[in-house]
């Protein structure tokens, strides 16, 4: 078991009170597992991605634990988290295009980063070149400035850089959304390859593009309003979703390539509840076509089939 998240609660502090962005999230991630994390914007999927590596200034860890390879991950303590970062947990950010210091040559920046994390760059230089070649980049990019690279090249550089220390967990946060379809494909393929070669043990792939998830992910987790709605192997989610929300989500997809964000799920009437004062019970009940009285109780996340978890009173019986 690589990662075990237990009842994680992370709130955003705002003027009007706490936004319950993650409100009791529990799941496991197995060695070698690539998990797609999907849901509408604002459902907490990015918050989950961030929480696992670094809470930003307004995020507050309220409750819950995280365990990585049996070790406790102290996400509330920024300083204690430092040893985990990069070495154990790494990130390909949403903004990979601008994640590199624009005024440093890429090689130099990587070296400086490595050195600051206690790694002698020359012990790893060869590996770096090999991995660059693996993703189809000339090692000469190290002598270039970020501005000289195309978006896809930068993306791949970030990918190589993020996984250079063979982390246990890689979080890819909307890592491909800024790329065109063919580049997306090759980046996704590289990621799978990295997992296969053991450069990363497991991966959480945050995206709104379910079709992309389907191509690469072993499992898919769907979140709704700060909670997990359903988690299951990718094919199950696509072909046999159980949670009404997942069903509507999949059903609302007009075709491959269109993103959930663009369509705004017009197929599902209503809007997600505000997370400032989340409603009691099932958070989907107001939009749910099959909601009934019992939905005013919070449904637990239960394993309805092996590896298939859902949080709905109507499933799993």
């Amino acid at each position: 078991m690589t990662l075990r998240v237990n009842d994680l609660k992370v709130y955003y502090q705002t003027l009007r009170g706490d936004v319950h962005a993650l409100d009791g999230v529990s799941f496991d991630l197995a060695d070698g597992e690539i998990m797609g994390l999907a849901g509408e914007s604002g459902c907490g999927k990015s918050t989950l991605g961030k929480s696992l590596i670094r809470l930003d200034g307004r995020m507050r860890h309220v409750d819950g634990t995280i365990e990585l390879d049996g070790k406790d991950v102290p996400i509330a303590d920024d300083r204690a988290m430092t040893p985990f970062r990069f070495h154990e947990i790494s990130l390909i950010p949403q903004y990979a295009m601008s994640a590199l210091n624009p005024t440093r040559k890429i090689g130099r920046m990587i070296n400086e980063l490595l050195r600051s994390r206690g790694v002698r760059p020359n012990t790893i230089a060869e590996e770096l070149n090999r991995r660059l070649e693996l993703v189809g980049l000339d090692p000469d990019v190290l002598n270039r400035f970020p501005i000289e690279l195309s978006g896809g090249m930068k993306q791949r550089v970030v990918m190589v850089m993020a996984t250079l220390l063979n982390p246990s967990l890689l979080i890819a946060d909307e890592a491909t959304s800024a790329l065109d379809v063919s580049t997306q494909r090759s980046v996704v393929e590289s990621m799978v390859e990295f997992r296969d070669r053991g450069y990363v043990k497991s991966m959480i792939f945050v995206t709104h593009d379910i079709s992309l998830v389907y191509q690469m992910a072993d499992t898919v987790m769907v979140m709704y309003a700060g909670r997990i709605a359903e988690k299951a192997p990718a094919s199950t989610i696509i072909n046999d979703p159980q949670h009404p929300y997942t069903k509507m989500l999949i059903g609302a997809l007009p075709e491959v390539g269109t993103t959930t964000e663009d369509t705004r799920l017009e197929g599902i009437p209503g809007t997600p509840p505000g997370l400032l004062k989340p409603p009691t019970g099932c958070r989907f009940k107001d939009r749910c076509p099959i909601a009934s009285e019992e939905c005013s109780e919070t449904p637990p996340l239960v394993e309805i089939d092996p590896g298939h978890w859902a949080a709905c009173w109507k499933t799993g019986r």
Binding site: L15, G57, R58, R264
Partner: protein, 303 residues
């Protein structure tokens, strides 16, 4: 001044504009009320403005009249003391504040109008118009404004506040134009502007109704900076004797104090108030501006 990023949150305009707008306003207000920089800055500016507006009404003699004993230090009768000739320095100060505000507002205002107009048009229109306006901006930007002002103002026969403000306005707009241009440039490519363009609305309407509101905070801050800048330039001109003839301003007070050897005669009450007035006024404007920046710009709120 290129450090103020584009209007945030412009992307989600369509979903629920009113609700979002309202929330944004109330949020801004909330932060505004809690920002010490904004509060301190604006209250000082306000106090000085009120002093300039109301103060003269409570002084029953003209600022240049010989009313009291000569060279008196501050006293209960003459709060800021008197000049070598027995003029009431408090009277000069309040009148001076008034004209300083006037020059600043007018000079800054003219620069603002010219700068933003050129910036908007250049950024929005693009192409050859942009090319020409940008060239113009760069030329005026490179020319040392104060020196041009000195040369030009020196040759004027009649010097008044109005003319001074006009000249200041006409030379200090370039950076505003440059900054507004780059902002407008990024806004002009946004969807809703495209939509407006497609629907055949006139450039001017699009700029005023679509582009400008989205950078209103930015514009407010530009105006304040131009305001403060104009005050400083005017003070400089006044100081070298190119101020309005027969008028009163804080810069002229400084000039007079120096000209009549207030430093050597130990009459600190003559040159401290006008200099402090200018410094505190402009400084408060700058601090107010940082406050505004923090209020408008969520990224800065956390610091």
């Amino acid at each position: 001044m290129s450090n103020i990023p584009g209007a945030p949150g412009a992307a989600d305009g369509a979903s629920a504009p009113e609700a979002v707008g309202e929330r944004k306003v109330s949020e801004t207000l909330h932060f505004a009320r809690r920002n010490p920089k904004l509060l301190i800055g604006s209250s000082i500016v306000l106090i000085l403005l009120l002093t300039g507006l109301i103060g003269p009404l409570f002084v029953d003699h003209g600022p240049n009249e010989y009313v009291g004993p000569q060279s008196q230090p501050p006293s209960s009768e003459y709060w800021f003391g008197t000049t070598t000739f027995g003029q009431d320095i408090w009277a000069q100060f309040v009148h001076g504040l008034r004209s300083t505000f006037f020059t600043g507002a007018l000079g800054g205002g003219i620069a603002f109008v010219v700068g933003t107009t050129i910036g908007f048009v250049a950024g929005y229109k693009g192409g050859i118009v942009d090319e020409i306006l940008n060239m113009l901006t760069n030329v005026v930007l490179v020319l040392p404004g104060m020196v041009v002002l000195i040369v030009a103002v020196a040759y004027l026969d009649v010097r008044g506040l109005l003319v001074q403000a006009l000249f200041i306005g006409l030379t200090s707009w370039p950076w505003a134009a440059r900054a507004v241009r780059s902002q407008a440039l990024s806004l002009a490519t946004r969807d809703y502007v495209d939509l407006a363009r497609l629907s055949g609305r006139r450039t001017w309407r699009i700029i005023t109704s679509e582009v400008a509101p989205n950078m209103s905070s930015y514009l407010v801050m530009s105006f304040i900076l131009l305001f403060g800048g104009a005050i400083l330039i005017a003070a400089g001109l006044d100081f070298i004797g190119l101020g309005p003839a027969g008028g009163v301003s804080l810069g002229l007070m400084l000039e007079n104090a120096v000209g009549w050897s207030a430093l050597q005669l130990g009459m600190w009450w003559w040159f401290i108030p006008p200099g402090t007035g200018i410094t505190v006024l402009v400084g408060s404007m700058y601090i107010l501006n940082v406050g505004l920046d923090e209020v408008f710009n969520p990224k800065l709120r956390e610091l």
